[in-house]
């Protein structure tokens, strides 16, 4: 990593405008228009508007938004499968936008791989040849690339299917092949474009677990696009929520649920069971007069739901410990209120920690 701050992916001021004379729109005052007005006035669609973020090495970074919010365009801009209109992208310190076609191919071959919603498998090739495709176009000799493909096939749990044709496999298994193909070149970064949207819920859960396992074992940097909030919360270390091409909020799951930046995000996270995402830090309060302070102690990062056993064992309020000091207490009623998804703020107004402080 040659990048100054050590980020795996660094995106600054990224724009993608589809339509005639996109560059002119960008420079002019029209860029600030809302999507409908922009489309009426210029015929252009701004799919990505002034997006900036950075992804740490080894992080799972989730971009979430509804369809049409520009998330798929954004991820394609990262390797210039779609040419961005403006902005800077650097991956592992390399300036992607300045790269020549050959450098770009090199980047796609060795450093960044992608997994697609509709798999994009080659139906005329066996699984093993699909997985080895990336190596094949790099010019790796047949025996070596098959050996490597076989390793990866085992890794994603497809042992015994190497000779099958993609059409014979179920959707979940086809996506395992897609995953294997992306892993075969041993890239630093994996991009996932709604990889599990086409799968049914049970298979999707398995595949999410599979991705988390691979992440633990291999520690790759991952950018994960999804429209499914629960998937985002499950996988993402940090989550960016997009709307109409812009990132409206970027933070951990806890921050999004606990302190939504605007009504849009609030609306999004409304149905999320708070007790499964928020930590004790969000519901603790100063001890009341005469409250016993000899109850069990729990760290402030404990998820509310995980504090239930402690609360069941002792009737005394739980002491919440942050940075070695007691920052407040939580009693059974507080936990019950949180489990019942009563708004946290209503319980103890003015006691919520600043969003920046949580989860960092």
């Amino acid at each position: 990593m040659t990048s100054s701050d050590g980020a795996a992916i660094e995106v600054r001021g990224l724009w993608k405008i589809f339509g005639p004379r996109a560059e002119r729109v960008l420079g002019g005052p029209d860029a600030g228009l809302d999507p409908v007005a922009l489309r009426e006035k210029t015929g252009c669609v701004a799919a990505v508007r002034d997006v900036s973020f950075s992804v740490r090495p080894g992080e799972v970074f989730v971009v979430m938004g509804l369809s049409g919010s520009g998330k798929s365009t954004l991820v394609r801009c990262l390797t210039r499968l779609i040419e961005p209109t403006a902005g800077e992208i650097s991956i592992g310190g390399e300036d992607v936008r300045a790269a020549s076609p050959a450098r770009l191919r090199d980047l796609r071959r060795h450093r960044v791989s992608m997994v697609f919603q509709h798999f994009g498998l080659l139906p005329h090739r066996r699984v093993v040849d699909n997985v080895a495709y990336g190596l094949e176009i790099q010019g790796v000799p047949r025996a070596r690339r098959h050996e490597r493909a076989q390793e990866i096939i085992s890794l994603v749990g497809l042992d015994g299917y190497a000779e099958a044709e993609p059409g014979q496999l179920s959707g979940g298994m086809q996506q395992r092949v897609g995953l294997a193909r992306a892993l075969a070149a041993d890239p630093e970064v994996l991009l996932f474009d709604e990889p599990f949207s086409a799968l049914d819920p049970l298979i999707r859960r398995d595949m999410q677990a599979e991705v988390m396992r691979l992440h633990r074992e291999m520690g790759k940097t991952m950018v994960f696009i999804t429209h499914d909030l629960s998937e985002a919360l499950k996988l993402g270390e940090r989550i960016a929520i997009m709307r109409a091409g812009e990132i409206v909020q970027l933070g951990t799951a806890e921050e999004l649920v606990g302190a939504p930046a605007d009504d849009y995000v609030a609306d999004f996270v409304r149905d999320v069971p708070r007790s499964g995402v928020l930590s004790l830090r969000w519901i603790c309060r100063p001890p009341g007069a005469g409250e016993p302070l000899d109850g069990p102690a729990l760290p402030a990062e404990t998820i509310i739901r995980d504090a239930v056993p402690a609360a069941m064992e002792s009737s005394r309020p739980i002491r919440v410990i942050g940075d070695g000091e007691m920052i407040g207490v939580v009693d059974r009623l507080d936990i019950l209120a949180a489990l019942a998804d009563r708004p946290v703020a209503a319980a103890v107004p003015g006691q919520r920690p600043s969003p920046g402080g949580a989860g960092s």
Binding site: R105, H124, I137, Q168, G172, M173
Partner: protein
């Protein structure tokens, strides 16, 4: 790891290490080819079936004809059926001819313009007027009207039979299943094959020409109509039924109106097919433009056939545009009632104006307005022939010496059983046992007809033409798929090329190369290339964008993308293109018999010109059909095999093979 939702792994998932032991994929075909080559070298010259003008089947057919001629007015089949059909069709043709002649040349032009106005506004009206005017200017007014009458007769008959049958087939899957193979065979039949039986039953003349044209042009009428009715949204049909409509009401008020535009296309295609057939029908004394063209072709006189060729193309364009815009027009009346009345009034005024103009102008098209250019054209052709002689001669000789002659000597010199074995092996490999048996059966039947050698000659020309066609078609198709600009440039040319009747392509070929076998090859190539280009281009373009994107994101170069992704995935479309190319090439090569291509086409032509050769001509017509079916089965088999990839027969086979080696 899921196990509940996944199919059981192939039981014999062999470890990779065992794979090198498997034979490479090309080993078997290579061994087969080597064996055939060795057999050819050993048995060359034996068991050949040289041509005999007096072969027994020909004599037998001649006898049949003699019997028919003798009993035409006695046998009940003729007396009570065939002769009446002939009288009816002949009468219809005469009637239509009279009707068309009635308004005079100005009147007919005016009526055409009025029709154009009704269907497509002033553009089409202008096109129609200019088109009909040009028939006169070319000096071919009478011939054009005769051709138009013949086309109308054939088209009316085709639609009268084809549309109801098509609607029925659209409603009944069983009838559709029954008709499909029949229509398949009808569509791969070269035009020539229809003619001899017509002569046998209906003698020569407009009636039998109209019937031949009708039979040739009826498949699209049935097919496209059936498709149109079948494609009507099932939801609309269901909704109609749920409101209590009877089947007849649903058909009349829902299905037919919704299928209207596509049925219009069926009419359009029927007319186009009829136009290309009426020219060929001139061989059995059809009146009109065809006779000029046939005479020009047989005498290698380009100046004679060029005006008639232009007239036919113009007629095709005018009829095509009128029917297409009629089909595309929305059935709803736009604007108010006055506007509708004005619209009709303008059309009527155009037609009546034309008729009225006829009072002022001479009834015949004025001779001084006619432009005659046979002389200059022939001079230009002679000039082109002489000044480009070096190039054209070199191209012709190279093809003839390097491709046609060697291939022909192999095919005619090899024992018949060896050629049959090769066809069997090829068809088996591409299509499996059933197509293979059909293909070989057809091939051997040509030998039984006594036409083995001529079939081999025609096959040679077809193979060479197909090879060239596919090469050019693939190159252009790939180029068009890769460059939208090139595609945009090429598309109108392809459109125009596909509107023209087939034999038009013989014109430039004849002008450049004279009457030789190569002329037929050249004409078939330009005839068959447009659809091949189009199929290849569409095939490559329709490759799933998700797959292309995935391959790009792996870092594929453009070339890798083409060879490893696009072409393999377009395999089905390319095989379909090959199939189409072969069928079209065969049709053209047979017509090329008129310009020195020899083989079966020549037999057919001489069967019409000399009574003693009738049997041979008839048999040759049948042989072209057999050849067509054989080639179609071989290539269509490859297509269906490719389509059955997702089910597992091929992989099962592969797995079995693997088990044996493991």
């Amino acid at each position: 790891m899921t196990s509940q939702a996944s199919p059981a792994p192939p039981a014999q998932a062999a470890p990779l290490a065992s794979r090198p032991a498997r034979l490479p994929r090309w080993a078997l075909p290579l061994a087969g080819a080597a064996a055939l080559a060795a057999a050819y070298l050993v048995f060359r010259g034996t068991a050949t079936l040289p041509h005999d003008d007096d072969a027994a089947p020909f004599q037998w057919i001649n006898d049949v004809r003699a019997w028919v001629d003798a009993n035409r007015n006695q046998s009940p089949i003729f007396l009570f059926f065939v002769n009446y059909v002939r009288l009816f069709v002949g009468g219809l043709h005469d009637l239509l001819h009279l009707v068309l002649q009635g308004p005079g040349w100005t009147g007919l032009t005016g009526i055409a313009a009025g029709l154009g106005w009704l269907t497509g506004g002033w553009r089409i009206a202008l096109l129609a007027a200019a088109g009909f005017g040009s028939f006169g200017i070319l000096g071919l007014w009478e011939a054009s009207v005769a051709t138009l009458a013949l086309v109308l007769t054939a088209v009316l008959l085709s639609l009268a039979v084809g549309l109801p049958l098509g609607v029925w087939a659209g409603l009944s899957p069983r009838l559709r299943r029954l008709l499909t193979p029949v229509l398949d065979v009808m569509q791969i039949m070269p035009t020539f094959a229809y003619l001899a039986p017509m002569v046998l039953f209906f003698q020569i003349g407009p009636a039998s020409a109209a019937i031949a044209t009708m039979i040739y042009s009826i498949p699209p009428a049935i097919r496209i109509t059936a498709l149109a009715v079948e494609q009507v949204s099932p939801a609309a049909v269901e909704a109609s039924g749920s409101l209590g409509a009877t089947r007849w009401q649903t058909l009349r008020k829902v299905q037919l109106p919704m299928a209207r535009a596509t049925i219009g296309l069926a009419v359009n295609q029927t007319i186009m097919m009829a136009l290309s057939m009426v020219v060929i029908a001139a061989l059995i004394a059809a009146p009109g433009l065809g006779s000029d063209i046939i005479r020009g072709l047989t005498r290698a006189n380009v100046g004679l056939m060029l005006p008639a060729g232009i007239a036919i193309v113009v007629m095709a364009i005018v009829l095509d545009r009128i029917t297409m815009s009629a089909a595309a027009r929305t059935p709803h009346r736009t604007g108010g009632r006055t506007r509708w009345v004005v619209h009709r009034a303008v059309a009527a005024a155009l037609a009546l104006g034309g008729v009225a103009l006829g009072r002022l102008l001479p009834a015949e098209f004025p001779a001084e307005w006619v432009v005659r250019f046979a002389g200059p054209v022939n001079e230009a052709v002679t000039w082109a022939k002489f000044s480009w002689y070096g190039v054209t001669d070199a191209v012709r000789n190279l093809t003839t010496e390097a491709l046609l002659n060697p291939l022909q000597s192999v095919l005619t010199g090899a024992p018949w059983w060896l050629v049959a074995a090769a066809a069997l092996a090829l068809a088996w490999r591409t299509g499996g046992p059933r197509p293979a048996v059909v293909a070989v059966g057809c091939l051997l039947a040509t030998a039984l007809l006594g036409l083995w050698q001529h079939t081999m000659e025609t096959l040679t020309t077809v193979l060479v033409a197909v090879a060239v066609t596919l090469l050019i078609g693939l190159l252009l198709g790939v180029a068009a798929a890769r460059s939208p600009r090139f595609a945009a440039l090429q598309r109108p040319l392809l459109d125009a090329a596909q509107t023209m009747p087939a034999f038009v392509y013989l014109l430039p070929a004849l002008a450049l190369f004279g009457a030789t076998r190569f002329t037929a090859v050249f004409a078939s190539v330009i005839y068959a290339v447009p659809p091949v280009v189009r199929l290849v281009e569409d095939g490559i373009r329709n490759v799933s964008p998700a797959v292309v994107e995935a391959a790009l994101s792996c870092g594929s170069t453009e070339r890798q993308l083409l060879w490893k992704v696009r072409l393999p995935l377009a395999r089905r479309a390319i095989l379909l293109a090959a199939n189409q190319g072969i069928v079209m090439t065969l049709a053209m090569v047979v017509v090329g018999g008129l310009v020195g291509a020899g083989g079966l086409g020549y037999d057919v032509v001489s069967g019409f010109s000399q009574r003693t050769d009738f049997g041979m001509g008839f048999a040759a017509g049948v042989a072209t059909v057999l050849l067509g079916i054989m080639l179609d089965r071989i290539t269509q088999g490859a297509d269906t095999r490719a389509s059955s990839r997702t089910p597992t027969p091929t992989t099962d086979r592969r797995n079995k093979r693997k088990m044996r080696t493991a």
